[in-house]
Symmetry: C2
Subunit: 247 residues, 2 copies
């Protein structure tokens, strides 16, 4: 198995880091890797913000309830970014351009592209012997985070990437069986028994693992959240306030 | 430079393939790599559909105007997929679960996760000496594509991945300068001159490259599209029809 497949197969999210900052070379190698990801029509609709200010790191960690944001060796925030197109538009084009960028299609394109770049960055870090974790929960620090970073319209912080020298080696979580995620020619709707079997496997994993033992199944964790009223309309309002009106 | 960084740095999208199908091992190694990508809370909200039926491949190629879908060695379609949670919900939970999954937040999460998996797959292919291209344009085959693949609610085809033995070695496109996409602590809104300089660089690239020479700048290509009325509201209607009401 080649080195790329090995790094991909050995992936585990790292949330405990040694107190060692990244070198300048490491920081830039990760950025360069992100920039090499393919993007739709070469649009490159993403940006990265490195958070080096200690106070700012602390505020983001506290507001998003992710202590490893403060403890890692370097912290990146990956954003959708279509702002550069707004800069390129003439004053008489801006209203139309801005209105068109509001379509959900461009939002989806920007999220997808930023994520391709993010995974390149993640693997680049892992390939250099570093550990990393992608933190979707930075949105819990919104809308304050938006202000702290001074993000213009069409720039949304999607996920953080905390990188550092790993100080743990967690077990790998079992994945859904291949036959429940990979189909041939047509979707297979008959997956209920496979999901139930996977639920039992995940329950065993959680009750057997070394740290943070608990009794919970895969779908059980999500369904118990999703059967309640969720306060998520505010997130959509935020996305719309940034110009992505999702029309 | 390690092998992972090398594969990432050498990336180019391949759109010309030798007439050689992928082996079963290659097909599965790519799926396994996709499944190892991290996902938010281990949700794994994506699926892959391999298109092996020649007639179906041809229909998708024609409807999305991407001939390499037919000519590649193997063709995957990556989808958002929250359908498995619907299967796990009891009948009396389904209405609430379905309503909650409609939030734009879960749509964003699913797109992001599917894209992380997609980039793992892309790099896995490249690491094995194969070439690949991500095809966002499969949405041009919607809504017919949705029917052909029999996709349930919350399953949306996001992008195709055409893989095969490369029969071309295209030049690499210049990226935006690092300083225009990577910032420290705060977004830098003063990017207009950098975008203009990049526009000139891209113009030179297009007029100098071996194949498909043309005179167009980076932002010019997008602005000339975005200053017109775009027929993209239908895409949002499609996304909403799949349960993602983006509320």
């Amino acid at each position: 198995m080649n080195e790329v497949l090995q790094v991909i197969r050995q992936h585990r999210s790292i949330r405990k880091f040694k107190n060692i900052p990244l070198t300048g070379e490491q920081i830039e190698a990760i950025v360069d890797a992100a920039q090499m990801a393919p993007t739709s029509a070469h649009l490159q609709p993403f940006s990265m913000i490195g958070i080096t200010d200690r106070e700012l790191r602390k505020k983001i960690a506290v507001h998003s309830n992710n202590p490893w944001i403060e403890e890692c060796g370097y912290f990146y925030i990956f954003c959708t970014d279509l702002h550069r197109l707004m800069l390129a538009a003439n004053p008489d084009q801006q209203e139309k351009v801005s209105s068109n960028l509001g379509y959900s299609y461009f939002y989806q394109t920007a999220v997808l592209s930023a994520a391709l770049a993010l995974q390149n960055a993640n693997l680049a870090a892992e390939s250099m012997g570093l550990g990393a974790v992608i933190i979707g929960g930075i949105n819990e620090a919104l809308p304050a985070l938006d202000e702290w970073l001074d993000l213009p319209d069409f720039v949304i912080p999607l996920a953080g990437l905390a990188v550092g020298v790993p100080d743990e080696f967690p077990e790998q979580k079992p994945r859904l069986p291949r036959s429940a995620v990979f189909f041939e020619n047509q979707y297979n709707r008959d997956l209920k028994s496979q999901v139930e079997q996977y639920d039992r496997e995940v329950e065993e994993y959680y009750s057997a693992r070394t740290n943070n033992k608990r009794k919970v199944s895969w779908s059980g964790k999500f369904i118990s959240m999703l059967e309640k009223d969720l306060p998520l309309s505010g997130y959509t309002e935020y996305v719309k306030s940034k110009g992505f009106d999702l029309k």
